[in-house]
């Protein structure tokens, strides 16, 4: 009988040693596993702690003098409103970029995804998918469609079939607005900051608005891709000069005749660095203008006197939310307006992706 207790095996016992070794390895494996899991938990907790923000509201951390505040300009006097919204419908494009009213009352919206035509009531009647974004559209009397795309102008038939593409145009062309004046096609080229004058077949016949001190032309200041041209019933072109906060009048030969507009956050002026971004002209020569930054659609008489609002900033809550959140603007933030044959103002809210139909509240005095 051994002197050692039975539960205290002899170290010489190979089975016991093997068991001990296995136990040790098992313990080490468990320990390693637990330590590994602990490490992973710690690492995840650390990462989570890093990425979990202070969830208090994003209130300014600094005093008023360090805070950009234009809130006082983001509401308007209701007494200035001359129009009321009667309908709205989604533009249905990946990104809407412009709109035009057809002579038959149709509403045309263009952007990333192509062209969409709506009835005067807002029902979709035609969709023309196009690979390249469309920035501007004009309708010829023949029914042909001129679609402005980066570097080219596509000519489509009334059903959207491509007839031809005018691509032999100045490098850097970004056509953000197209107007038709008899045989002339006027293209606001935001890329080159001039208005191109084309003939009916797309050949360049002139340039309007290039800087030329000898002709008293200071040039167009177009800091961002918002540049608009319209033909007025008085035979003069109207062109925005957004960096100068003005709308300028030119002859078709390129002579500057007049200009109006001032830069101001106040309701009668054009706010920010570069406004208006678009406009249209009523048959009586008065204007509807659109501004970005403070989304405002406003009315001016033919001499540029402020007469009222179509819609104030509060009519565009999604836009204001994006602006106040500090998200970057540029291409996605324009507001566009067109006047249809019934005198309604069609407003494209790019941020909201909707077309608003605005009806005059009272007979125009």
């Amino acid at each position: 009988m051994s002197d050692e207790p039975p539960n205290n095996p002899s170290p010489a016992d190979p089975t016991q040693l093997d068991r001990a070794r296995r136990s040790l390895l098992r313990a080490a494996a468990w320990g390693g596993g637990i330590a590994g899991i602990g490490g992973l938990v710690g690492l995840s907790a650390n990462r989570l702690a890093r990425r979990t923000p202070a969830r208090e509201a994003a209130t300014p951390a600094l005093g008023r003098e360090f805070t950009y505040d234009v809130e006082r300009f983001q509401t308007s006097d209701p007494a200035l409103l001359r129009f009321v919204e009667t309908a709205r419908f989604p533009a249905g494009l990946e990104r809407a970029r412009n709109l035009t009213a057809g002579p038959d009352g149709s509403i045309w919206v263009v952007g990333t995804g192509g062209i969409r035509k709506f009835s005067a009531a807002g029902e979709l009647t035609l969709a023309i998918p196009l690979d390249r974004p469309v920035y501007a559209l004009a309708l010829r009397a023949s029914g042909e469609i001129l679609a402005g795309q980066a570097g080219q102008i596509s000519v489509l038939d009334a059903k959207g079939g491509v007839l031809t593409v005018w691509s032999d145009l100045p490098a850097g062309l970004l056509p953000t607005s197209i107007a038709i004046a008899g045989p002339h096609i006027l293209v606001a080229d935001a890329g080159n900051r001039v208005v191109l004058k084309l003939d009916a077949t797309g050949n360049k016949t002139g340039v309007i608005g290039a800087r030329d001190p000898d002709r008293n032309l200071r040039g167009f200041v177009v800091p961002s891709p918002y540049f608009c041209v319209r033909m007025a019933s008085d035979g003069l072109l109207r062109v925005t000069n957004p960096g100068e906060h003005q709308i300028e009048s030119y002859t078709l030969d390129g002579d500057l005749e007049a200009a109006w507009g001032t830069g101001s956050f106040a309701v009668a002026g054009f706010c920010g660095c570069c406004n208006p971004v678009s406009f249209d002209i009523f048959p009586d020569g008065s204007f509807v203008t659109c501004e970005k930054g403070l989304p405002r659609v406003k009315l001016y008489d033919s001499a540029g006197g402020f007469t009222g609002l179509v819609a104030g900033p509060e009519a565009f809550p999604e836009y204001l939310q994006a602006a106040n959140a500090g998200t970057p603007h540029s291409l996605g933030s324009g507001i566009y307006a067109a006047i249809d044959p019934a005198g309604r103002v069609l407003v494209l809210d790019v941020v909201g992706g909707t077309v608003r139909i605005m009806q005059r509240k009272e007979p125009k005095p």
């Binding site: 951390a61 950009y68 800091p223 961002s224 101001s264």
Partner: protein, 212 residues
């Protein structure tokens, strides 16, 4: 048969241990030693692994930097107040390629300036950290005086709201202590602080970015 051998049969010297007859069991001393050796090897491996992990972690820390994604930044002002440095390492950055060189720069001027000139009453920046220089009519160039900028983002908000977003905030890595425990990142309500490779530590807009 003497002197003969079968093919494949191996012969070892008489004293070779492999010629020894099998022993009844491992000796206690040898097994204890083996156990200790195994333990030492295990510990050594563990230590090596831990050291490698630690060094790896340290390496990954030095391989990345905290930076502000300008598309997520909401200019809340915390960059100016939360940095461990007395004056924040976050500064305004200007991408000239994106800038419109506006006469009425909404990042430089108060919303309703009295005049479009460099008068202090017209300037938006509370520390006067933006320099305005005439280039040619009607264009002006704006540059950031880093020593004066505190990273409050007031100018950034004005530029984003009305302009092209050419002004934006960035962590300046010549000032950042790179502690990897960024106090601003913890406070950022917009989750705009992200880790970027140390070899490309800035998230710049457009071309021709400067001011960093």
């Amino acid at each position: 048969m003497t002197g003969g051998s079968n093919i494949g049969e191996r012969h070892y010297p008489a004293q070779h241990p492999l010629n020894d007859p099998p022993k009844p069991g491992p000796s206690p001393a040898l097994n204890r030693r083996g156990l200790l050796q195994a333990g030492a090897r295990g510990l050594g491996l563990l230590g090596f692994g831990a050291a490698a992990g630690w060094l790896g972690a340290r390496e990954s820390k030095s391989d990345t930097r905290w930076q502000i994604n300008p598309d997520l930044c909401i200019q809340c002002g915390r960059c100016a107040t939360a940095c461990v440095l007395q004056v924040s390492a976050v500064k305004c950055t200007h991408s000239y390629g994106v800038c419109g060189y506006c006469k009425l720069c909404t990042g430089y001027f108060e919303p309703e300036p009295i005049n479009l000139d460099e008068g202090a009453e017209n300037q938006l920046c509370p520390t006067g950290a933006i320099k305005r220089e005439f280039i040619e009519d009607p264009y002006y160039e704006y540059s950031i005086i880093k020593e004066l900028c505190i990273g409050c983002g007031k100018c950034v908000k004005g530029c984003n709201m009305f302009g092209n977003g050419s002004l934006y905030l960035q962590v300046n890595h010549d000032l950042c202590v790179n502690c990897d425990s960024c106090a601003i990142a913890r406070e950022c309500p917009a989750l705009a602080f992200v880790k970027v490779p140390a070899t490309r530590p800035y998230l710049l807009r457009g071309k021709g970015a400067a001011g960093k």
